[in-house]
Every structure is written in C-alpha cells, then in structure tokens.
Subunit: 258 residues, 2 copies
C-alpha cells in the first residue's frame, strides 16, 4: 500500500518514525507532519496564512516533509500535493491516549478525520500512556491490523480511532471494537503573575472515568486490550433531533415576527 | 440569565459585541474571548503554555475579558475562573456559516461544545454569509430564541449549532431543526516561492453541496430559514460499530500473536 502518515507530536517524534520504519517493510510510506509539536490543536486548519513545506533527509525508509501547518493541513497537503492519492492515511503513533472526549481536542484524531473527509481510509493510532509510551507495540499492532482489516467496509466520512495499551506486544491481550466513552477532564486553572505584573493561568485537569457502559474505549485499554472505535464527522444528535421535531412546531415560538 | 459569550473572531469583533449588547437588555452578560481572530482553530486548547487574561473597558453593557487562548480555553476560563457557573454559554455571532463539515473546523462551534462538555447549556450562533454578515438579525434571533427554548431538554454533552441567514430580521422565513449535512470543501493548494526561495502554499477550496437529505443545515439557510442542529461530542459511528462487532471476531485476526 501507499501510506501517508502524519501526527501532532512533530515530524521528528519517535512515535511517527517508529511507525514509518515498521510499515516501510511492506509498504511505500511518506511522512507529512508538523515541524514541531501541535498537540491539542483539535481540528485546526491554516486558512489566513500560508504553509511552508520542507523536504527532510532524516531517514532512508520514507519520504519526509515537515510543514508549518497542523495535522489536518498536513493530510490535505499530502493528499493534494506532496504524495497524492494514498491507499491509507495513518495519524500517529501519538504519545498518550486519545480516549473519551480527548478525541475532540486531539490533533492526532483530526488527522484521521481529515483523511476520511477527503475520501480515504484513515486511522488514528495512540500509545495509551503519556509518561511511558510503547511505540514499538503500537507500530507492530498497526502493521498487522492494516494488512488484515478490510478497509472497503468503512462507511464514508468514518475513520478508526485506535488506542494501544503501552505494553510490550506479547503482553497485549487482544483487541476490541469499542464506543467512545464519556471519559473527560475536570479542568481547573492555576493563576500566576508574570514578571510584569500581568495575570496568566496554567490549565490543569483531573480525569473523570465514570462511564456505565462496559464496552467503551478506556475500559478496553485498562484491561490490556487494543481499543478500536469507529468515529464519524457527523455530530448530529439524531435521537434528540427527532424529539425536537416532534415536540416543537414552527408556530410554537418566534416566527411569525412582531 | 447569566450568559457567558465567546467567539473565534476575537473580542472586539462586531459579531460578539452586537450579540452582547442585545442580550444585555434582559440578561447579565460576560464576554471572554480571544484577543485576536482564531478562526478555524477547531477544538484547540492551550496545554503547554499559559494563557494571559486582560480585563477590557470597551463597553458598558458587559464585563469583557480578552485572552491569549482559543475559544475552548475561553469557555473553560469563563466557567472556572472569570464568570463562574453561567446559565447559558453562547459562542458567536460568527462571521460566516458553520454548516456541514465546517463544524469540525470551527472555533465557534468548539466554544459551544466546550460549554456542553463542562455541563452547561450551550449554543453556537453564526451569520451565514462571510462577505456580508448580518449580526443584528442573528443577535435578534438569539435573544428571542433563548427566552423561549427549554434548555432543560438538552441531553448531556449536546449543544445547538445555529446558523442565521444573513438577511434583515423581517425577511427571515422561520426556523427549522436540521441535520448536519455532508456539505464539505474540495481543497487545493497554490504553491509559491517566498523571497528566500522557500516553497509555501496557500490553501484554497470549493464548496461541495450534494446532500440528498432535504432537511439538512445548508438547505434551510439557503431557503431563508434559521438552521438549528443539535450536535453531540460523541463521534462513534454506532451502526458501523454494530456491523464490525457482528462480522469480526477476536479469532479472525491478529491475536493470539505470531
């Protein structure tokens, strides 16, 4: 396969290079990734400024381009200009988990969503421990997974969010298809004064893991399984939409005016 | 109500000030917004750098704070530190539409999603014409809407994405509950050389509007109606998840290893 890889930890991060090297054994690989870390950029794109691109000679197993853009920019550039029509887009391996509402903030996941929106099979891969990631096992799982999974079953605008436990490969118990959990962060801010007397804040947070569903993403990872969640870019809450449509009628409020 | 307002066009943009002024007639309003434009930042948050906050005296109808953060940061800061527990979070009025896959890229929509994730009723409001926005009509609609809509019906983690046609208020035909469409952008890049010989790219795009569903967001707006789409932060493609679970079993591939 011709595989386009991006990430949000930057083009020289161990996660992306480990993955590219492993996949290059059986595939043609190109890396298009941010020149520096762009974590938690969400699905940002660069529309009011241009994007600089540099070809790097940092390895012999992949073409490598660094850009001043975000992961979503990199996928667009890879598909449209630098590598053209890939067979597969992979974003990762990310340092740390992308579970529950992390997905909403994640530059890594946005890289996969961008691939799906552009019409290509796409996956995001994360090693689920920020302090002690295991890129080798995540790369190994990814390499085996993509050769066995039938990407033609992926519906339009849908990608896979994969979280691999940060264990050595032989300690991983297996894999599960999961639902995105409501795992989320309770934020708080630590206010400080800068040397010029101005107030600034550091964002901190505690994770909340209280989902009742036994088959959600973080529970699979905690029990030693790879979590594979199919995710879409369509956010409509359809059940609530049906309720709204049946309960509220145009005459109920607002229009006609006066 | 006590209403927290943010946006992604910046704290001094006409969209946010028009909305705050209109709402201040009947409500207590605080603005916490980026100091400059942060469009298309997606759901970015600021985790590796601190966020500076300044209180501004630019109007007499609202408390105003500018921050160096993103819209999602601003909502977190507003809720946790600057304004505390609002009755409602509003992100907007955005300059230009947030329809179809725009939602994924939109800093404005991310402001509302952040409010919903934090457990507060939240809406995003956009005036659906970038070149000729009509903030007065969007603010007028919002003011009337929030006084009539029963926010207690909103499910957890769900917010409303509202797009108001950029028409004068009396020309708006009404409102509709809609589904997020598959309206999307076909990107292309214009390569250039900078004065130092380095390659850079401008991202351009053409919009694709080919959704078959008659009840989607952009069709409501085009026919002169306000589009109101309930959106969730849970991205699982549940139908496909069910298919995957019934078609693929652990023994089918990958584990046990080797």
């Amino acid at each position: 396969m011709r595989i386009l890889i991006t990430n949000d930890d930057g083009v020289t991060s161990n996660g992306i290079l480990t993955l590219a090297k492993r996949l290059s054994r059986n595939h043609e690989v190109a890396i298009v990734a941010p020149e520096s870390e762009r974590s938690a950029v969400g699905h940002a794109i660069t529309i009011h400024f241009p994007i600089w691109v540099k070809e790097l000679s940092i390895c012999d197993y992949a073409k490598v381009y660094s850009t001043t853009g975000t992961p979503a920019d990199c996928v667009k550039l890879g598909i449209d200009e630098l590598f053209k029509a890939p067979d597969l887009v992979i974003s990762g391996v990310n340092r740390g988990p992308n579970l529950g509402t992390d997905i909403i903030y994640s530059g890594t996941v946005s890289g996969a969503m961008e691939g799906a929106m552009s019409g290509y099979p796409a996956i995001a891969v994360s090693s689920a421990d920020y302090a002690n990631p295991n890129y080798d096992s995540a790369a190994e799982f990814t390499a085996r997974f993509i050769e066995r999974f039938d990407f033609s079953t992926l519906p339009p605008f849908t990608s896979l969010n994969i979280n691999v436990p940060a264990l050595s490969y032989e300690k991983i118990k297996g894999w599960k298809f999961t639902k995105q959990s409501k795992r989320r962060w309770k934020d708080f801010f630590e206010p400080r004064k800068d040397p010029f007397g101005r107030t600034y804040y550091w964002m901190m947070g505690d994770v909340i893991e209280d989902d009742d569903d036994p088959d959600v993403d973080y529970k699979a990872v905690k029990s030693g399984y790879v979590s594979i969640t199919p995710i879409t870019v369509f956010l409509t809450n359809e059940k609530y939409l049906d309720e709204l449509r049946s309960n509220l009628k145009p005459q109920d409020f607002l229009f006609p005016l006066s």
